[in-house]
Symmetry: C2
Subunit: 191 residues, 2 copies
């Protein structure tokens, strides 16, 4: 019996959000290295042990409370794209919509995005979140082009696409940079 809306789950999500909010605020104020996990736990009014129970992946994971499913979104975009649309175009669309490429964000999210882009530890962790979706994306691409999902060509393609945010995110014009990379990858695209 999975009661997804029990008080327990609600409190859990609430605490997780309090931790993420405290982390974003404090990081923005004092910088990532200028804040200790003890201070974040204090600000969220929980013990350090509880903090790590909620965020087992550690300090860098604190601000990423909105699920890890970044890479998986791309796989879904491929699978559910309009019929006839080429795979790379679907990927361009999906990438452009989120992550570092979205044009106008609420100031709160913009601050968070800048924080990630400008903090090496957070950028690196963000990359691992994206890359975790590699098998899913490789499977989706392979299904469309009739290739082996574990073959190197498909795997590399998935990896290269998933690394675009980190590669283009810090450019003056991230969106243009993203398209430039796709223009590079598309000629070799299978199928």
């Amino acid at each position: 019996m999975v009661m997804t809306t029990g008080r327990r789950e609600r409190k859990k999500a609430q605490t997780r959000k309090a931790l993420a909010d405290a982390a974003v605020r404090l990081f923005a104020e004092h910088g990532y290295d200028g804040v200790t996990v003890a201070q974040i736990a204090e600000a969220a009014d929980v013990s350090i042990a509880t903090l790590f129970a909620h965020v087992p992946d550690g300090k860098e994971a604190l601000i990423f409370d909105d699920g890890a499913g970044r890479g998986d979104r791309l796989a879904r975009a491929v699978r559910e794209r309009p019929p006839g649309e080429p795979v790379p175009r679907a990927l361009r669309r999906c990438l452009a919509a989120g992550g570092p490429f979205a044009g106008d964000l609420p100031p709160e999210l913009r601050r968070k995005r800048d924080l990630i882009v400008n903090t090496p530890a957070l950028r690196a962790y963000s990359r691992t979140l994206w890359i975790a979706g590699e098998p899913a994306l490789a499977a989706a691409i392979a299904a469309e082009s009739g290739q082996d999902p574990s073959g190197m060509a498909v795997r590399a393609l998935a990896r290269y696409v998933l690394e675009i945010p980190e590669l283009a995110g810090a450019e003056p014009d991230p969106l243009a940079a993203m398209h430039a990379i796709f223009d590079l990858l598309e000629p070799g695209w299978p199928g």
Copy 2:
């Protein structure tokens, strides 16, 4: 006056090597996480403070004593390739010669390579060493194709090439995997 062969430099290199040797041996015996830097310092007969003076980048950097210049080798391979040879072919040759792709290595080096490939922390650090050569490789590629060295297309190309070792290094046939990736990148290659 830079006396490159003074006793000081010699002792320094000697200690650095002792640390690297002790680290490789202990890591191979007990695994990366099964060894503390204190044990490595002990085995090399130096204090912990001295260990960090020799290896400021920390535990992962211990076994990489042979200069960081991996990525730079690729840039040189491009610049000094035989006249008329396409850039990608020169890169294939250079990559195939070293890193995880070399066929027959002395058992000592093979053990070290397996250690790196099978240890996430070491693999990640190895990647940062490769990637550090991105600007140099991008400059070399740009010079050949008459493009802007800081343009996204060239930068992405350099990055993607430098990530081949991490991407293909763990495959059953690393060399074949490497060539598969180049077959993917070459159609979009500029110039």
